[in-house]
Symmetry: C2
Subunit: 169 residues, 2 copies
DNA sequence: CATATTAATCAGGGGGCCTTATTGTATTTT
DNA sequence: AAAATACAATAAGGCCCCCTGATTAATATG
């Protein structure tokens, strides 16, 4: 059991190292804008990618953020022309949020192009990695869902939809 | 080559999915303070872990941040009692930054405890994952180093030292 | 000694995420 | 129609990261 514990720790450490390193990598090597993240504006884009034309209230409850924050982020996205606002005809209080083509592009481009460092793995290794990570992410989804049933499933759907759409075409 | 490309994309996507998901995981499941990150104050702690008693100027150039930012972050760390400041006796302009015991503890605790989701992997799989990620991070270090020779090596040393120290004891 | 140069700080600003409180407007309930 | 409720926007504030510009204090140079 000791041995197992060490292996688990090593793996955990590497995973953490990878996470931190990937930030630095983006910074220094790609010299790129911080990728779309899963908070704030990015969270909203992701939710819209899953289901367009949502009301702010709908977004807020779905993403577990306050309506005020939602309003702020939507406004910022609108300013960046990634999103448009239109009052609902049925209920003129609600403001429907919709993705613009640029918004869709932003999301698509955030679906990573393959980073060059993955090329150091053989095809078989890439496969292995995919399998291992899938086990891990599935376990994470389960934990998230257990902790917050109303959110877990939704994020799963969000991510699954996001990262799989590319292969449907 | 097509097949390989798809496998690489799948792996890349999963990696990205894992990264995003781990933020949500921390948020929802661990309900924890955002872990120490590799920017701002965290970056400085990490640099000090690698080499203590550095001047702010040294830190700034090493971490590629402005002296003003460095000053700001150091002040914040001092306020949190993670770091102390002491004027150099050789040159009374320079302010040597040193870790406090609490500062060391902060860094140590940021070295992840093993997250439960890793337990879904068998011992052999944890091993595999470690090996694969090591290949990847090594490739990243090389890329980072190529892009910025003065920084790459240092970050490597930073991380390597950080994540390996636990196993030296 | 007077004049750079250097280390660090102060002042101010921009953008990000996120919160609570307040207000306006539209719709439902009574 | 009046009152309660719901959607959204606005204001203000907190904390984070990070920058430029100007300033102080100490040291090095002419």
């Amino acid at each position: 059991m000791i041995a197992n514990e060490v292996k688990a720790e090593l793996a955990a450490g590497k995973l953490a190292e990878y996470e931190q390193l990937s930030k630095i990598y983006d910074d220094i090597v790609k010299q790129a804008r911080p990728r779309m993240t899963v908070e704030g504006q990015g969270k909203i884009l992701l939710a819209l990618a899953d289901e367009d034309h949502q009301s702010q209230h709908h977004l807020a409850s779905r993403l577990a953020m306050s309506p005020q924050s939602t309003s702020e982020f939507v406004a910022k996205l609108a300013k960046r022309h990634l999103v448009t606002l239109a009052k609902s005809t049925k209920d003129r209080r609600v403001n429907l949020v919709s993705l613009t083509p640029q918004g869709r592009e932003e999301i698509a481009s955030a679906a990573q192009e393959v980073p060059p460092f993955l090329q150091v793995l053989t095809e078989a290794e890439q496969d292995e990695l995919y399998v291992l990570l899938t086990k891990i992410t599935n376990a994470m989804y389960a934990d998230i869902d257990a902790a917050n049933p109303t959110l877990g499933v939704k994020f799963h759907k969000l991510f699954a939809g996001h990262y799989l759409n590319r292969f449907k075409k």
